[in-house]
Symmetry: C2
Subunit: 102 residues, 2 copies
């Protein structure tokens, strides 16, 4: 069963780390308990819509952007996104350059 709270937790944590903030900073700014936010990030607690709005605000990120990322990750989990299994062009170019350099 694909659980939305798991992806929400991952996304909230990733956005927080991307912005270089600590759990303590975000919890404090969002006025939620640190332990609670930690459980939400680990997908162990469902965040209410009010908490989600506060945390998104504390992360200076629109809630729609957070939910878009959540839906994108859910699509991957559900196998609805084609993850290319070819090597990106940039890497191929680097690889060729390496070969030529030899």
């Amino acid at each position: 069963m694909v659980l939305v709270r798991q992806e929400i937790g991952d996304v909230l944590r990733d956005f927080r780390l991307q912005k270089g903030r600590t759990l303590r900073q975000v919890a404090s700014k969002a006025s939620v308990a640190l332990g609670y936010l930690s459980e939400v990030e680990r997908g162990q607690k469902e965040a209410s819509s009010e908490i989600l709005a506060s945390v998104a605000d504390a992360l200076d990120t629109p809630i729609s952007i957070i939910m878009r990322e959540v839906s994108d990750r859910l699509a991957v989990v559900e196998g609805l996104t084609i993850v290319p299994d070819t090597v990106p062009v940039d890497m191929v170019a680097d690889f060729d350059a390496d070969l030529v350099a030899r």
Copy 2:
């Protein structure tokens, strides 16, 4: 404050109506109480991730598709989507045809 549960409720109802199903049918297939599903659809109750997964399943719709629609609507509410204020071409064509018919 933009509330995710409001958009989730609207989206679940819209998908259900699009598929021509009754509250009773979806609640029964998802094994949730009819009154509870009705409250979720009206944005009055937070649906747990398990309930969301069951309802999505009962609607034969991947949860990622539901959350994508939720994020799109949240973006509109947050003013992050540009809604064109010009008249759609089809309507303009009809309007011109009307004028010519006079």
